[in-house]
Chain length 272, copies 2
């Protein structure tokens, strides 16, 4: 699943398929999921940054995406089983909110959403929040999960979830982006944290350092320089290989691989 900007600049989603997930991509000839501005005025300016989670209980993929309009970006939900037809559930947050993903299962009977609202008040920051829902439609018990750090840390500007949380033996592996604002622009890097498997409100550990940042020419330069930004990754349960697909400088799509066990080991050391 790839984000493609049309010539008019209204974002939409287009499916790309590959047998090995790395090469020989076949990209759908026309956009797969486009804004439905008639029924859904909240997405008249486009749909962006989908996080896709398989929900075993519902036998559907849940797509949480940014719906964009003059009323501000917000999180909307769509469901699909085939990536051909999509059932839109509409806004599940008010604006301004982005970078949202469901967890694949319920906790104490409720679904859980990670998201990133943006306050405007001086002194406040864009942090990662959790909300809970009995029905995927009505959400409550909003609470801060992780805050942007203070000072000149790599994730002091703002933070937000990157790919959906990944279930591991040790907990939910959270891959998040952090922004550092500098005099010459923002740098988007990626860090790691771990949440309790049974209670995602509990942060077990969070790495002090970033684990992945712009180092290549196509990450340094593009529409938005110095950005690596991921909305999706795939874990191979057998080999432990993790494949992270990411936007490079908002212009190209890159693939980075790691070993899940090694990431968890690194996180244990880096958070110490």
């Amino acid at each position: 699943m790839v984000r493609v900007e049309g010539r008019q600049g209204a974002s939409h989603l287009t499916v790309a398929r590959s047998t090995d997930g790395a090469t020989n991509w076949r990209i759908d000839r026309s956009p797969t999921m486009t804004p439905l501005s008639g029924e859904h005025p909240e997405e008249v300016w486009g749909i962006e940054d989908p996080r896709i989670v398989w929900l075993p209980d519902l036998e559907r993929y849940a797509i949480t995406y940014t719906a964009y309009s003059r009323n501000g970006p917000l999180v909307a939900l769509a469901m699909t089983s085939d990536f051909k037809t999509f059932d839109r559930h509409g806004p599940i947050t008010a604006p301004e909110d982005k970078d949202a993903s469901l967890f694949p299962r319920r906790f104490d009977g409720r679904w859980c959403l990670v998201h990133r609202p943006v306050p405007t008040t001086p002194g406040s920051k864009a942090n990662m929040w959790l909300s809970f829902s009995p029905d995927l439609k009505h959400w409550g018990d909003h609470m801060v999960l992780m805050e942007a750090r203070d000072g000149s840390a790599w994730d002091a500007g703002k933070i937000g979830l990157s790919p959906p949380p990944l279930e591991t033996d040790e907990g939910w592996l959270v891959v998040y982006h952090g922004v550092r604002n500098t005099a010459s622009g923002a740098i988007y890097r990626i860090g790691l944290a771990l949440l309790d498997l049974d209670d995602p409100r509990r942060v077990i550990r969070r790495a002090t350092d970033w684990v992945f940042g712009p180092t290549e020419p196509y990450e340094f330069a593009g529409d938005i320089p110095n950005v690596v930004f991921s909305c999706g990754m795939v874990a191979d349960a057998g080999s432990g290989e993790l494949r992270m697909y990411y936007g490079a400088a908002d212009t190209r799509i890159g693939l980075a691989t790691a070993n899940t066990g090694e990431l968890l080991d690194w996180l244990r050391i880096s958070a110490a």
Copy 2:
């Protein structure tokens, strides 16, 4: 119910009582409802701007207020029957959100909240939204109710609900504040709209002009000049008299009266 700022600047609520609603106010000697920062970190910087609605079905007053912290202002809910003890329900929106009130009854089985989220994206505005809930805890179906106007209108900067909606024979009377940003600061004025009694998503009419704005010295000058801002009004069903209590320049509390029928007549003409 009066907003009082403590010397440290953390807002709280203090009850004031009067037999005629106009004179001889007795103000509680100590704050009636203060931030509970231990259990409720969302209000560690204070609680502000309560909208109070009697819910006949629950035989309780619902207080929707702005809870303030470094994570940004959001809407929280508390319930009370006596204004001595308060049951806190915590955040019912994510930040940034303010100016919220319940309607006193359900629509198609769900509670309805007016609120005012604030998007930060260039070109977006702070508008009035509706959300719906089966249980007062989980909220969804977020939608725009009314937008700030364009250009140099009195309500082009941002808008938000002022007192809770008032049920009349013609519909829900909505008293809202509109902001015009000028080179020398913002002007907060008050306007009127009418919503369908059975479906508050439907705006029947909205006045073009404002109906109440700063004209007196204590409205022109104070902590925040050129502001009239109301969070509460009381209607006398017999006489039709409406009493609106409002903050004047964020420094004093004023009382303005009107006749509900005359306001509805004016609204019909002004919206034409």
